[in-house]
């Protein structure tokens, strides 16, 4: 145990097993991106090759077709149970980023997710967010309780000491569990390289461009890059100065866009 990745891996596996032990009705949010891919690999390690809970994907209908194809192929390979959630009402009413990006995120993602949580009664939800992504995520707990409406009381979070995670909550609470909160973007790629885990091909450069963060097509931009392999991406990240989510339009809407979305239950 001398390597930093070993330490991160052990921490994450410990958290995953804790969540599985504590919440009889547990699910994992699968966004198809690199972070969920790492989280799933860690879960398969934690549970000796199995995924003993469903993967939930919230479909906004705006994802790239390559993402959906990758999702379907991988879930089959893992033998996972995939649950796809859609806010049908909002989709039927024509919700899209042209009606306001933040409104679209709130409707198709947050509401799509909370509808699914209500319908399935999930008590615990595993999410692959990381502290180094942006400011409000830097403030998160590993076990982060949410109220009836999925709201996050970021001003009054419970203490969390060592590996003793708080698991006594009032009725109606569900808990977001964040097994890779302490990983950085670079750690994710170094781990993908070390473990030789397959990743959605959109991350690799084609014609001088690649995706650094994956989301819905209308709101996700590419960066200039020639990195066409995992190793090349690692080299690129060591010198890049722009933040990871610069290509995600919803983050750039206003100063506290992400905090406000997340306080209401966004991932």
């Amino acid at each position: 145990m001398s390597d930093h990745l070993d330490r991160l891996e052990a921490e994450s596996i410990y958290i995953l097993r804790e969540a599985y032990n504590r919440f009889p009705n547990l699910a994992m949010l699968y966004s198809i991106g690199k972070d969920s891919t790492v989280m799933i690999h860690l879960a398969r390690k934690a549970f000796f090759g199995k995924l003993p809970f469903p993967l939930v994907h919230i479909d906004t209908t705006y994802k790239y077709p390559e993402m959906i194809a990758f999702r379907d192929r991988m879930t089959k390979e893992w033998g996972a149970e995939l649950v796809v959630g859609r806010n049908e009402e909002a989709i039927a009413a024509g919700m899209g980023p042209d009606q306001g990006r933040l409104l679209c995120c709130a409707k198709l993602k947050t509401e799509g997710l909370t509808q699914m949580i209500d319908a399935k009664g999930y008590q615990g939800l595993l999410l692959g967010i990381r502290r180094d992504e942006e400011g409000s995520r830097a403030k998160e707990r590993v076990f982060s309780p949410r109220g009836q409406q999925s709201e996050w009381s970021y001003k009054d979070q419970p203490p969390e000491l060592w590996d003793q995670f708080n698991t006594n909550y009032p009725e109606g609470t569900h808990v977001r569990v964040h097994p890779i909160l302490g990983w950085t973007e670079l750690n994710i790629w170094e781990y993908l390289a070390r473990e030789k885990v397959e990743i959605c091909p959109l991350y690799f450069a084609r014609d001088g461009k690649r995706f650094r963060s994956l989301g819905c097509a209308p709101c996700t931009g590419t960066i200039d890059s020639t990195a066409a392999t995992v190793d090349e991406i690692i080299e690129e990240l060591k010198v890049i100065r722009a933040p990871e989510r610069a290509g995600r339009a919803q983050d750039q809407e206003n100063a506290y866009a992400m905090q406000k979305l997340r306080a209401k239950g966004y991932m």
Partner: protein
């Protein structure tokens, strides 16, 4: 404390598994003494702040009509910026040539003590920051006390805002003497006491030329001088059972080795139940089974005999067992709003065990606000 179940001490908590070339540093101190500013400075001077982040902060400051605030790097929440106060702990990363640091910002305000402890509990080392002019204040004392209670022994003291007194050596020395004397009562010897201006950048990454009277390390040098937290070797094997998976007609006992090591074939005992068996296999998907498991590793065990041990029991080698007790003496730091009551039933968590516990006697009491 008396408790009904019997539990075995599982060695110390997870601290000693920390071994990496990444060091977690918590920055503590009285509110407004400049913690967030120091962190912003560290990031700026090590080139870790993306241009767009600087632009975002500059924009917010301009709208608020105030000079550039480094503090906004960690104080990302709107309420924190509007009220100019750190509410919750945050973690960010920066690098020196020597290693990567995780920086944990801990709120100084009394109201947010639970958040300060949440941040500090995961740290390997600490910077205790104080305003050179205001000197040792209530939260300076309380935070220092918490560092000693949490077992954080590697501490650097930073005496800040010396630009406000023209880098006066005497102001620095007065505060230095006070804080050294106080830390002495807590058994903490600071690695160094560094005079700084977080805002102007003196003695953060480079010494500058305004405090030539000081010959010691800068903050960055002091951090790089901290030792890596290494796994303690030579400790007995302790494995608290986290879960038991009954899959494919076998039972896998999952958990993390807290200390020591064990090999396939070793005779082992579960405590407190006392069940004995032998290690049959050590699982680590997708690899081949392991021959041995070591401190810090999350593994799964199968055993030679059919057992019914559960979460909370501690596995030890039969030739080196811990003592099991029904009564322990402990230092408690009581955070809850309601008072701790003698004779009342509480839930005691230790590693993965949870037992009912009752307090039989309170021998000594200390109010951290009157230190």
């Amino acid at each position: 404390m008396k408790h009904q179940g019997r539990i075995a001490p599982p060695g110390k908590n997870g601290r000693e598994m920390k071994t990496a070339e990444t060091l977690k540093i918590v920055i503590v101190g009285h509110v407004d003494h400049g913690k967030s500013t120091l962190i912003g400075r560290l990031f700026h001077d090590t080139g870790m702040i993306p241009e767009t982040r600087v632009a975002e902060i500059a924009g917010t400051c301009e709208r608020q009509g105030r000079p550039f605030e480094y503090a906004y790097l960690m104080d990302a929440l709107e309420e924190e910026r509007d009220q100019n106060v750190t509410i919750d702990t945050a973690q960010t990363f920066f690098k020196t040539d020597k290693r990567t640091y995780v920086i944990i910002d801990a709120p100084g305000h009394k109201e947010f003590l639970k958040n300060m402890i949440t941040g500090a509990a995961s740290a390997d080392a600490a910077i205790l920051l104080l305003d050179g002019v205001e000197g040792v204040q209530e939260q300076t004392r309380r935070h220092a006390y918490l560092l000693s209670l949490l077992g954080i022994r590697q501490v650097v003291v930073a005496i800040n805002k010396l630009d406000m007194v023209d880098y006066d050596r005497q102001v620095f020395q007065r505060t230095e003497n006070d804080i050294r004397a106080f830390l002495h009562t807590l058994d903490i010897t600071p690695a160094s006491v560094v005079p700084i201006s977080a805002r102007e950048g003196d003695n953060i990454a480079s010494p500058g030329d305004r405090m030539i009277w000081y010959g010691g390390p800068t903050i960055l040098q002091a951090l790089d001088n901290f030792a890596n937290v290494r796994a303690e070797t030579g400790l007995p094997f302790r494995f608290p059972v986290q879960d038991v998976y009954k899959w494919d007609n076998e039972r896998i006992y999952a958990g993390r080795v807290e200390t020591g090591q064990v090999k396939v074939g070793d005779p082992v005992t579960f405590l407190p139940s006392g069940r004995q068996t032998e290690v049959k296999s050590i699982r680590l998907w997708p690899n081949e089974d392991l021959a041995q498991a070591r401190a810090g590793e999350c593994v799964g065990f199968t055993f030679a005999d059919e057992l019914f041990a559960e979460r909370g029991e501690v596995l030890a080698r039969s030739d080196d067992l811990p003592t099991t007790v029904g009564e322990i003496k402990a230092s408690l730091f009581w955070l809850a709003r309601n008072s701790f009551v003698k004779g009342k039933n509480y839930r005691l968590k230790l590693a993965t065990a949870e037992v009912d516990a009752t307090c039989v006697a309170i021998e000594e009491r200390l109010d951290s606000s009157t230190l």
